[in-house]
């Protein structure tokens, strides 16, 4: 039985070229979803195959890779993807946002402001922001072509009529450079403002849905809203229990079965960095053990 050896970064060169061409088009048309011939990867569809294919197509031996899921470097799927690249591309990996040249993410944008030269690769489950309003690709493609986004505004407005607010907390739609409505992937809307005029290149990969899209650095990314109901991000009442940070996204950790809970940073690297620099929250010290 003859099982072949794998190429650098797993993908064969022809596949990389195909993905690279799609990435270049995606950068040239910000927010437009470029169809690409997504390959079957050795991890399941829906588990980051789009992001993995992008990372595999851009990564080189000089790169330093960081992989996060839910903001954390040590969630199981992040660990698994990081280990995959350490094995097939033999690249340096890090958990420090500042040290990484490529950051692959699921569901979060790091708290630390990204800088020029960094690439943020998003794993995207459903790239089409109009999909839940119109399930047919043939229809949504026309809507993007005609810049016909009325349906989206109607949906958001119905939210306001029904709930008194826009009831979308994640995957909150944005408009890129005044043209394409884009799905930012299921990041919390808290992260949307970080996409606007970011210094980093943002690449989005949807493997199962076979789409790649991009937001170049210094590009306008505006969350959809209404004059009387302006876009707002989430606010947390209390600071991170470990590092005392405010103005960051927090996870709620359940401590016991009597309703006890604490809020801690979702961005684990940012939290650790703050603690190393002497910041302390109310539960620093014993909280992690309690959580496990």
């Amino acid at each position: 039985m003859n099982v072949a050896a794998y190429n650098f970064a797993y993908l064969d060169e022809q596949t990389k070229r195909m993905i690279r061409r799609a990435i270049l088009k995606a950068i040239a048309v910000p927010g437009y979803q470029v169809p690409f011939a997504s390959r079957e990867m050795p991890m399941p569809y829906g588990w980051g195959t789009g992001g993995v294919q992008i990372t595999a197509s851009i990564i080189g031996p000089e790169d330093v890779l960081k992989v996060i899921d839910q903001g954390a470097d040590d969630t199981t799927n992040a660990v698994s993807i990081r280990a995959f690249f350490a094995k097939v591309a033999n690249v340096a990996v890090t958990t420090h946002t500042a040290e990484a040249s490529i950051i692959q993410t699921r569901h979060r944008i790091p708290e630390r402001t990204l800088t020029e030269g960094q690439v943020l690769v998003y794993q995207v489950p459903i790239p089409e922001p109009l999909r839940y309003l119109e399930p047919r690709e043939t229809e949504t493609r026309k809507m993007h072509a005609l810049e016909e986004y009325g349906l989206m505004h109607v949906k958001l407005y119905e939210d306001i009529a029904k709930h008194g607010r826009i009831a979308t907390t994640y995957a909150y739609p944005v408009k890129v450079e005044g043209r394409y409505v884009m799905d930012p992937s299921p990041t919390p809307k808290f992260d949307n403002p970080k996409m606007h005029m970011s210094e980093a290149l943002q690449l989005f990969g949807a493997g199962r849905e076979k789409r790649i899209y991009a937001v170049p650095p210094y590009t306008e990314v505006v969350s959809l809203d209404f004059e009387d109901h302006p876009f707002e991000i989430q606010h947390f009442e209390e600071p991170c229990a470990l590092c005392g940070a405010t103005g960051v996204y927090l996870d709620e950790v359940i401590l016991d079965d009597h309703g006890g809970h604490m809020f801690v940073c979702s961005d684990t690297d940012n939290c650790e960095d703050r603690r190393e620099h002497g910041h302390r929250g109310t539960l620093a010290g014993h909280a992690l053990e309690a959580a496990e």
Partner: protein, 366 residues
């Protein structure tokens, strides 16, 4: 907590070690060998090859063992390997008319040139569990044909001679598409659609085909013919100037013949639905041919009202590797988004209670 703050790597490694242990099971029971799977679970191997779209019995058997018998997992393993293989070229179309037939039946004719050959079928077996198999009892050698079988032309070619059935090729084109190498674009050409169906999940296509029989897009099908056997695969080598025979593969072909009332351009005739699958996979080939015919509704000017006629719906959801990935991804942590929803819900509940005031929860009094 399954998202250990540290130690995710060790947890994953340990989980995989445990998986390997469970796969192997009791060490006192002999380990399965590839040949045993190929020889004795041949139809599982065929399904892994077909939906994995890679014709390699050994790799499919290995995948089945590695997947602990989970067929979709085995198909996934085969697919993930297939995608790394380089393309040396594209074979000539296989000629199923020249098939070395092991089974061939037609439901539309009592007898026909080449005859009806039952072959190795479960049909007409009484589904009674057989304890002698568990005891490893001896199995009789099969009865062999006395003579070479006569030529068995495809039934659709016979019908075609009277002009009653549509022609084989009604969509001439130079190049055959390949969904695994190009982005999918709806509406699909029929070649791409057939490729998607051939790779599609047997259970999904079976249910859709069944739905057309129950009135959700009725297509009046008859099994024109099912044939199972071996065909030659040939590759054109431009440098040689002739085709080279690469060997034989076993395939199952189903030609469904469907009543059609005709339209402005086409007189009443029989239309066809087509199924072709690697290995012996009769149920899949039949389901595929029913779905193929249903999905031709638009082309034939029929109303598109039912799920099995809706190309975007059927093809977007027929791939079990895609489906299982996205369904199972719900296991991955989603606590960041859940936190957002929790926050929103708390806000809305607080408002709701404030508005309701003393009248809150009137149902509690009832």
């Amino acid at each position: 907590m399954y998202v250990a703050v540290k130690g995710g790597e060790a947890a994953i490694a340990n989980a995989h070690r445990l998986l390997a242990d469970r796969r192997r099971g009791d060490r006192n029971v002999p380990a399965l060998r590839i040949e045993q799977i190929i020889e004795q679970l041949g139809l599982a191997v065929d399904r892994a090859m077909g939906e994995g779209s890679l014709y390699d019995r050994e790799l499919a058997a290995l995948a089945l063992i590695q997947a602990r018998g989970d067929l979709i997992e085995a198909i996934f393993l085969v697919r993930a390997y297939r995608t790394t293989l380089p393309r040396f070229g594209y074979s000539r179309p296989i000629d199923t008319g020249e098939m070395k037939i092991e089974r061939r039946i037609s439901a539309t004719y009592k007898d026909l040139p080449g005859g009806q050959l039952l072959g190795p079928t479960f049909d007409y077996t009484h589904r009674l569990l057989d304890p002698s198999i568990a005891e490893g009892g001896a199995v009789d050698t099969p009865v062999a044909r006395d003579s070479e079988p006569e030529r068995a032309p495809r039934v659709t070619d016979l019908l075609g001679h009277e002009g009653l059935t549509e022609d084989d090729v009604n969509e001439p084109q130079d190049e055959i598409g390949d969904l695994t190498r190009e982005p999918m674009e709806f509406p699909l050409s029929r070649d791409r659609r057939l490729q998607a169906l051939a790779r599609g999940d047997e259970g999904f296509l079976l249910a859709l085909g069944y739905s057309t029989q129950r009135g959700y897009g009725r297509s009046h099908p008859f099994v024109g013919e099912i044939r199972i056997g071996e065909v030659e695969v040939e590759l054109d080598i431009p440098e040689f100037g002739f085709a080279v025979n690469l060997g034989r593969i076993r395939v199952t072909e189903c030609q469904m013949v469907n009543k059609f009332k005709g339209n402005a351009k086409v007189p009443p005739q029989f239309t066809r639905g087509y199924g072709l699958v690697f290995g012996q996979a009769e149920r899949k080939a039949m389901a595929m041919s029913l779905c193929d015919r249903s999905l031709r509704a638009r082309e034939l000017g029929e109303d598109v009202n039912h799920p099995a006629q809706d190309e975007e719906f059927v093809i977007s959801h027929s791939d079990n590797v895609q489906s299982t990935g996205f369904v199972e991804h719900l296991k991955l942590p989603h606590y960041v988004d859940f936190q957002g929803e929790l926050g929103l819900l708390r806000e809305m509940r607080a408002e709701h209670e404030a508005e309701a005031g003393d009248d809150a929860y009137p149902e509690a009094a009832e």
